[in-house]
């Protein structure tokens, strides 16, 4: 189709050149249009039109010129559109429309907008986490750093800075906290009460606070320190600070401290600090020998398990010296086939895997684990189990590039299926973690895996032993979860320690 040039002149019609340029651009975008220009008819502009190939136009500086080039229907459409736009009334939206406040991007903006902010919850990628924490502290906020992979020197920098400013740092790598009754990160819905917890393990704190709730007591504060706090380098800055803060808190009558085995000098300093307080303290250093720290005294009790720590704290807050013996979960010994001899654990909570290994060792079971306790070994291949094996599926080796199994249980369910169909497996031990942050439905996939294993496997299925960490007030409702598991033939113990002992004893 041949191309033609058309123009229209609007005499004595002034429009701002910017508005005209926008119109020019709109016309030029029409299909079939090769060039378009809407200008005031000044000498320079008319020269420009000529140079752009839009032809000779005879107009004065006060006249508005629309010039287009293209195929014929297109030029007609373009002139119509131009006429429409030039006679349009301004839309009311542009002038008076409400402009939404832009979202806040920085901590400084948030604090300037609302000076009442008093805590920053940081879960950005590890390389940036310390910087955000430092900003929060400099702006006068307490901090919880959920992020992991924070360089140790940066952890020390932020913790020392917080000391100077009399502020609290929880983490890095702090998964759980409950402050003033509110859940931070992964936390369960527990009633408020008079037991304070300071812990270096997220799932460990979830187990202790949930059990306190299950036993009818409540939690004043649960402060996480992060997994590296009790290293020799960091020196328990956060745990010592949390301990002192809770000791000074009128709402806290008993304190529980929790850690995997700390560096020895650090542990001693923590115990020494605890002994100097007026408030009774229960200490659970998983896998450490209390005798190394002087054993029980009236002010300081040692507990060997997470559940034991909760039990001791509940007893103390009720004025009893010792917890009542809790009845062990009854179980029936299962008949296994001759080759069925292995205990296989698939955990989403790292501390549950750790505690189960310790208790299984005490029952005489040496297991392989990707996070082995003293006396256990790394598996030759983490992807395939042989012999007794207890795996932490939340460990980096399994979670690279995918969500933690507490958030997305599917990979754990798959591994559970693989273990359950292995003819060598006698007992499958697992945990289910509930609460804020955890999967909305952590059970359905598990039950499918169990059902599938029973269908596929020839000969007797393995025994399934589990514990559910959480409370009836959690969004997932612990009672309902336990009921579904039991209905599927899973032996559900009261707590992780009990589940581990039962599973170990069932293993032939």
């Amino acid at each position: 189709m041949s191309s033609i040039r058309e123009h229209r002149i609007y005499p004595n019609r002034y429009q701002d050149s910017v508005a005209l340029m926008a119109l020019s651009a709109a016309l030029a975008e029409l299909p079939g249009i090769q060039a378009a220009s809407v200008v005031m008819g000044t000498g320079t502009n008319l020269d420009n039109l000529r140079e752009a190939g839009l032809g000779e136009v005879d107009a004065g500086p006060g006249d508005l010129v629309v010039a287009v080039m293209g195929d014929e229907p297109a030029t007609v459409r373009a002139l119509e559109l131009a006429d429409e736009r030039l006679s349009e009334q301004p839309s009311s939206r542009g002038a008076g429309g409400e402009v939404a406040a832009p979202p806040l991007r920085s901590l400084r903006q948030a604090v300037e907008e609302n000076p009442a902010h008093n805590l920053a919850l940081i879960s950005v990628p590890g390389p940036y986490a310390a910087a955000e924490a430092l900003k929060a502290l400099r702006l006068g906020l307490n901090v919880m750093v959920f992020s992991d992979n924070v360089p140790l020197d940066q952890e020390i920098e932020i913790k020392r800075f917080a000391e100077e400013r009399d502020l609290l740092v929880m983490g890095p790598d702090c998964g759980t906290a409950i402050v003033n009754g509110l859940p931070l990160g992964f936390a369960n819905v527990v009633r408020r009460g008079r037991i304070g917890v300071v812990g270096a393990s997220g799932t460990g704190m979830q187990e202790i606070t949930s059990r306190i709730h299950q036993l009818g007591e409540g939690v004043s504060q649960a402060l996480g320190t992060g997994g590296h706090d009790l290293s020799a380098e960091v020196g328990a800055i956060s745990m010592l600070r949390g301990l002192r803060a809770l000791a000074a808190d009128d709402g806290t009558d008993v304190i529980v401290l929790l850690s995997k085995p700390p560096a020895e000098t650090v542990a001693k300093a923590v115990v020494e600090e605890a002994r100097a307080l007026d408030v009774p303290v229960v200490i659970c250093f998983l896998g450490a020998d209390p005798a190394a720290f002087g054993g029980d005294t009236p002010g300081v009790r040692f507990a060997a398990t997470l559940a034991g720590a909760a039990d001791a704290a509940v007893a103390l807050v009720r004025g009893a010296d010792r917890p009542a013996e809790s009845p062990a979960e009854a179980y029936e010994q299962v008949c296994f086939a001759p080759g069925q001899r292995d205990l296989r654990g698939v955990f989403s909570g790292g501390t549950f895997c750790y505690e189960a290994q310790l208790l299984a060792r005490a029952e005489g079971i040496r297991a392989a684990s990707n996070t082995p306790v003293a006396g256990n070994t790394m598996p030759a291949d983490v992807a395939v189990s042989t012999g007794h094996t207890l795996l932490d599926l939340g460990d980096d080796v399994f979670t690279r590039g995918r969500p933690h199994p507490m958030i997305d249980p599917a990979p754990r369910d798959e591994r559970l299926l693989a273990e359950a169909v292995d003819p060598a497996t006698a007992v499958v031990l697992f945990d289910v973690v509930l609460g804020y942050g955890a999967a909305d439905d952590p059970v359905s996939g598990l039950l499918e895996a169990i059902e599938q294993a029973r269908a596929v496997r020839e000969g007797p299925a393995p025994a399934f032993v589990a514990h559910v960490c959480g409370t009836d007030d959690d969004p997932q409702d612990r009672s309902a979860v336990v009921a579904r598991l039991r209905e599927a033939g899973v032996l559900v113990a009261e707590n992780n320690a009990q589940a581990a002992v039962i599973a170990a004893r069932m293993t032939p």
Binding site: N48, A130, R138, A245
Partner: protein
């Protein structure tokens, strides 16, 4: 803390904020992105500067100096009289950070070649370019001599400059004369008509304006700019009102000097024919205000933003004469008929000194028409001006914006806030053709590149011994 109501800022996973809210907590979830352009070391250096008492104190001082500056138009003189380093020297000033002849953009080379011919150091632009390449001419940023110029920003010894004096500090700032639109030196044009116009500006026009300006005995520029903001200018890309206001003051003084009638007619025609005539005066006023704020140790306030056609550069009060540079960002704009983004030179000129002083893009709410360059609405213009408050130390109560309920314009860019939020200062700008001499081909909106601000943050941290891995 235990007795307080917990009020959380959630930085990272949005789900944690939702859970807190579901549990009855108060929470603000940030629209977080990696700060400092995603460089973890710079992010940490930045964190160490947030709320740092020395920086805060220094910024108070620098910002107060900026606010209390009183730019006054006092004189028109040849550059070599204002800048004595130029007298008898083959020194040519250009816009933006320092750059060697070999790396200069087309329009800047064209303008320099024109200036060399204008000075009589060569006969033709071609010979001028050879002379420039031979090393016989010295080049320096205008900023290094208290001067600023739009686009190529070329100032040679014989060109006339506006003299603006900060009445508070006594410091002087300069800018060249605006030649109008079309084929002009600042876009790299250097033909005979361009040079003839420059000779007329330097001779007849400057000769007429000098006694007129002196007769005014100091024209206060801040009130004039403030008034122009209420008349639809943002005094960077739109100077129609300000040019009129300047003329209103100049014309009676000019007439009172009883010039030849033909001279008066040509001067009046030239000034009234150029809506950007005030731009260069505005720029000198901004330069005076910002130089007042320069040189306060540890201050993170930006005192200059300028482009040389290759790089964008900024200077910061607390880091002395250093430039922090990065390639200029593209311009989001509209083009004159026959031109497209492929013809555009990278962003160019010292005129971003207006944004640095809280005008231009920062005052876009005053000039809704400008936002049409990017197809926006007046609401978008207002949003630009509001957003700039997030990255400034304060606001300038002399520059108020009707569309913000006469709220003050954001001023005193804090490099920390830019690096922290990733909100880049918004700049209104003309677009030059990449080839010398074609001239302006469009206009639009651009931003100052983030790496400049991140580099400045690291330098400030270094100055306080806070840069390295462990501080």
């Amino acid at each position: 803390m235990w007795s307080e109501h917990l009020d959380v800022v959630n930085v990272g996973l949005a789900g944690f904020g939702d859970d807190l809210r579901a549990a009855g907590g108060s929470v603000t979830t940030l629209d977080w992105r990696p700060p400092a352009g995603g460089d973890p070391d710079a992010a940490l250096a930045l964190a160490r500067l947030v709320g740092h008492p020395e920086v805060e104190r220094a910024n108070q001082v620098a910002f107060e100096r900026y606010l209390s500056a009183q730019p006054v138009l006092t004189d028109v003189v040849p550059a070599k009289e204002a800048i004595t380093e130029m007298a008898g020297e083959r020194l040519i000033l250009h816009s933006g950070p320092p750059i060697a002849w070999e790396r200069m953009a087309g329009p800047v080379r064209g303008a320099i070649a024109g200036a060399i011919v204008f000075e009589g150091w060569a006969q033709t632009p071609g010979q001028a370019a050879e002379l420039a390449a031979s090393g016989a001419i010295s080049f320096a940023p205008a900023h290094h001599y208290g001067a600023v110029g739009p686009m190529a920003g070329v100032i040679s010894p014989s060109m006339p400059v506006w003299v603006v004096r900060d009445a508070t500090s006594g410091r002087l700032a300069y800018s060249n004369f605006n030649e109008g639109l079309g084929k002009v030196l600042r876009f790299g044009a250097n033909g005979p008509d361009v040079l003839d116009r420059l000779r007329w500006i330097g001779g007849e026009l400057a000769g007429a304006l000098r006694p007129a300006v002196r007769r005014l005995e100091g024209l206060e520029l801040k009130p004039l700019i403030g008034q122009a903001l209420h008349m639809g200018d943002e005094v960077h890309n739109r100077n129609a009102a300000a040019t009129g206001l300047l003329l209103k003051r100049l014309l009676p003084a000019l007439i009172a000097t009883e010039p030849d009638n033909a001279v008066l007619r040509r001067a009046a025609e030239f000034i009234t024919g150029n809506d950007h005539f005030f731009l260069n005066v505005s720029m000198a006023a901004c330069k005076a205000m910002l130089d007042a704020a320069a040189g306060v140790p540890h201050s993170s306030m930006v005192t200059a933003m300028a482009r040389n056609g290759v790089n964008f550069g900024i200077r910061v009060s607390g880091t002395g004469d250093r430039w922090f540079q990065a390639p200029a960002n593209p311009v989001d704009g509209l083009f004159f008929p026959g031109y497209s983004v492929d013809d555009a030179a990278p962003d160019l000129g010292d005129s971003a000194i207006t944004e640095t002083a809280g005008l231009g893009g920062f005052a876009m709410a005053a000039s809704p028409a400008i936002v049409k360059f990017v197809g926006g609405t007046p609401a978008d213009a207002t949003a630009h001006s509001r957003r700039m408050r997030e990255i400034t130390i304060g606001t300038n109560p002399v520059f108020t914006l009707p569309a913000l309920d006469f709220g003050a314009s954001a001023a005193g860019i804090d490099v920390r806030a830019v690096a922290d939020t990733g909100l880049q200062p918004v700049i209104n700008t003309g677009i030059a053709h990449k080839e010398a001499g074609v001239g302006q081909i469009g206009a639009g909106v651009t931003t100052a590149p983030l790496p400049c601000f991140t580099q400045a943050v690291v330098a400030l941290a270094d100055g306080l011994g806070l840069a390295g891995a462990a501080a």
